[in-house]
Amino acid sequence: MLRNWTQRVTLTDIIVWALGILILIGVIWGSIVTLNTGKYSTSTWIDLTITGLALGGVYALIALGYTLVYGILRMINFAHSEVFMSGPFTATFAAQALIALGWWNTYPILSLVIVMLVSAAVSASIAILLERIAYRPLRHAPRLVPLITAIGASFFLQYTFRGLYGSGLKPFPDMEIFSGFWLIGTVRIFKTQAVAILGAFIMMLVLYTIVQRTKIGKAMRSVSEDKEVAALMGINVDRVITTTFALGGISAGIAGILYLLLFPVAHFFMGFFPGLKAFTAAVLGGIGNVPGAFLGAMVLGLLESVGPSLFLDGLGIPAPNQLKDAIAFTILVFILIFRPSGLLGERLTQAKA
């Protein structure tokens, strides 16, 4: 066996593994040093963890859109970040209107529901339009083509929103009921964070149930396996795909409101980085897998929040938080190298060769 192994290993593998191990050593070393110096207290770590989970919740909901679409069309909807941006961006106007009506703090739950509906509706419509105009005609084209279209659509949407609504910041008003925090023992959880984590979890469960249990969910699964055969079963493939995009859009729209609760400023470029992170999360969890997207997002949120203080600080890197995006992207790269199927994804065997 050993002989086989040595034959199989190429220079590439050695370099890649060496890089991986080097980074791992760095991470461990950094963590040890940080923990030894005791620069941060336990409650600090807990705080960072909760922050990370809340961020993860938002990523999770965006990641669901990537995962659903990838599952069914085997394409990366690069413009999903703009689907995410469009909903909350528009919702800030709805929020202003609600404030003008005086509903915002008198009927907070109703207001939140309205804002979420607006956001989900806009995001879903953008997603559906995107599919109808930009992707459907290209369903049989080589894979690069729809990806490039998606990149184009992403830019088009970003700058259309910029043109329509301006490039300034759109503040999202605070909600009184969500200000402040709950104290559980010595742990502080900000209400907005709790809402984000909870909301994401519920949404994930809802989507998971839809995909696994309902008729349309089964139709989605069969379309993802073979569109032609699915059509032969009497499934309207186009409608199923549209539904998938709509679900992804709704989830992105809701993600957008959770995002605004946490970070109450919207602007036309707000989708780009969360989109990339969410994609990373989807890949991390195993793209095409709904619980995987959730898990991946949580892990990513955590690493991003805790990572810089934990790994980089100990290595003596100044301003470690500047590099937290680099952490996310490094994770993406290494996941795709060492376990492209992600944490929960099934290993796609190439048994069909």
């Binding site: 394409m75 080589p142 990149i151 830019f155 910029r162 329509l164 301006g166 680099a326 992207f329 795709l336």
Partner: protein
């Protein structure tokens, strides 16, 4: 097909709606207003007006063309309908805008915009005028379709040229400043903005006349006619082209030299990315990383600021090239096992990592952080320091010639075939004895090398580098240009760069809407002409293949 003389009005309403929607969009994103200061024909009409009229006109015309079989009167009816619907949507915008303050949301829904749309005649009269204009547009579209081909062609040409020359007024005037006597002549044709009426008329008649006259004469495309020439004539063509290229900056002045330099730089990168994406089929969205590495290597090695080394540009160049080549190799190693879209995202991640690293405080002592690196050396030949855009143009020219030659040679080599085979079917290519890793790496590294060269010249041109110059948009620019030009096509890179890099540089109002238009262009291009403007022949076949072209194998 039934020979039905009646027409389905739905289609034309749709066409009108589409045209109107596009016109409204262009208005609301601010393009109409931005271009409304730009006269095409001074005092007559502006580019802003063109922007809201053209969508309706074109959409109506396209719908009519699809229904050519209709009777003339029906064509006119259909045209009127479509035009009216289109303009009605614009009118609706004006009407709503006059009643509700849309501006709370839509920042461009300004009184200024309504003024432009209603030709400054107020809401009531303006809407009537607008609707009338819609009918006029419809009638014009129908009438245009009914014109004899020859006249229609001449008319189209004339309109396009008037638009073009009118738009480029500033440039032409600017260049003409270099040519004293010519300047005053040229300035007669142009007003402060756009063409004078007389200028437009002359141009219109001239182009129309020439194209009317040329109608029906055999047309050959440039490449074909070039290939058909006798060797002597061919060399003459090459020689003349070479001479023109050589003297271009002297003829056109600094303004154009700057654009030429920019275009050349992007062509340089485009040729590199073309190898990676076009030849080998590896979508690389982090191409800017290698550009950054080339530029920063020059910066680190030549700038006295960091105190690392103070080489001359020429001494540092090999290091820059080597660094980017090796970076391509090293960065390529781990990612090349991936396929397709994963690769795209990972390379994007790489590009961002490189940007974040050069920006970081961590590496600041060596890379300058956000303050960048200044006082970078410029190349010198003997006593002559290449420090103006005109002089640097020659550096670009040499680099370009070299790189284009290499790209062209590689395309038809054993390596080129291996890339193509990998692109077509990776498994099978491996089973043919092609080492997919090293072959892809070579593509990646060669592409990186070209990008590094572009970066090295870039650093010399600016004498400074900043992390902010190394952003994702550079990668997107390069990718867009090779796609618009035609993936895998070497002349396509040149065309793509001219369209995407030179055009926005020439039209300054355009800069604000650059990425909006890029985005739309990429989508439209992929939907209608995925092979690009100057496609590589092979690629063209490949991208249009929807269903297996041969009857399925196991029938």
């Amino acid at each position: 097909m039934e020979t039905n003389t009646s027409f389905s009005w739905k289609e034309f309403v749709k066409a009108g709606l589409l045209g109107g929607a596009v016109a409204v969009l262009l208005s609301l994103v601010g393009m109409v207003a931005a271009f409304s200061g730009r006269y095409i024909v001074s005092g007559v009409f502006t580019m802003g007006q063109v922007l809201f009229i053209a969508p309706i006109l074109l959409s109506t015309y396209a719908a009519l063309r699809r229904n050519r079989q209709l009777t003339n009167s029906n064509l006119f009816m259909a045209g009127l309908l479509s035009g009216l619907v289109g303009s009605a949507i614009l009118a609706l915008l004006v009407l709503i805008g006059s009643m509700v303050n849309l501006r709370a949301m839509l920042i461009n829904a300004s009184p200024e915009l309504y003024g432009i749309l209603t030709f400054g005649r107020g809401t009531g009269l303006g809407i009537v005028i607008l609707l009338g204009l819609g009918l006029l547009i419809g009638a014009a579209a129908a009438g245009f379709l009914l014109l004899p081909d020859r006249i229609r062609h001449a008319l189209t040409q004339a309109i396009i040229w008037v638009l073009l020359i009118g738009l480029l007024r500033d440039l032409i005037v600017t260049v003409s400043f270099r040519w004293g006597p010519l300047s005053s002549i040229v300035r007669q044709l142009f007003a402060v903005s756009g063409l004078t009426i007389i200028g437009a008329l002359i141009l219109f008649l001239l182009v129309g006349g020439v194209s009317y006259w040329r109608w029906g004469r055999p047309k050959r495309d440039a490449a074909e006619s070039f290939n058909q020439q006798r060797p002597a004539a061919r060399w003459l063509t090459i020689g003349i082209t070479g001479l023109i290229l050589l003297f271009l900056p002297l003829i056109l002045g600094t303004f154009f030299s700057e654009i030429l330099d920019n275009v050349s730089m992007y062509i340089l990168m485009g040729l590199g990315l073309n190898i990676v994406v076009g030849f080998a089929g590896l979508l690389d969205l982090g191409y800017v990383a290698f550009f950054a590495i080339g530029a920063y290597t020059i910066g680190i090695l030549t700038s006295p600021e960091l105190g690392i080394a103070t080489m001359s540009w020429w001494e540092a160049l090999p290091f820059a090239l080597l660094a980017s080549f090796l970076a391509g190799f090293v960065l390529g190693l781990p990612v090349l096992k991936m396929r397709g879209d994963y690769l795209a995202i990972v390379t994007l991640g790489f590009g961002e990592i490189v940007r974040l690293l050069v920006l970081s405080d961590w590496l600041r002592p060596w890379l300058g952080g956000s303050q960048g690196i200044q006082r970078i050396a410029q190349p010198s030949i003997g006593p002559l320091v290449l420090n103006t855009q005109q002089e640097l143009y020659y550096l670009f020219l040499i680099g370009l010639g070299l790189v284009a030659f290499i790209a062209w040679r590689l395309k038809d080599s054993r390596l080129g075939r291996s890339w193509m085979a990998l692109r077509e079917d990776e498994d099978v290519a491996m089973a043919m004895g092609i080492n997919h890793v090293s072959t892809k790496l070579l593509a990646f590294a060669t592409g990186a090398l070209f990008s590094g060269l572009a970066g090295a010249i870039f650093a010399a041109k600016l004498t400074s580098v900043y992390p902010h110059s190394m952003n994702f948009l550079v990668s997107i620019n390069v990718l867009s240009l090779i796609i618009i030009g035609g993936m895998g096509s070497i002349p396509g890179v040149f065309i793509g760069a001219l369209v995407l890099i030179a055009a926005p540089d020439l039209l300054r109002e355009f800069a604000e809407f650059r990425y909006l238009v890029y985005g739309a262009l990429l989508v439209v291009m992929m939907l209608t002409r995925p092979e690009g403007l100057w496609p590589e022949k092979r690629r063209q076949l490949e991208l249009h293949e929807e269903e297996p072209a041969v009857v399925p194998a196991a029938d």
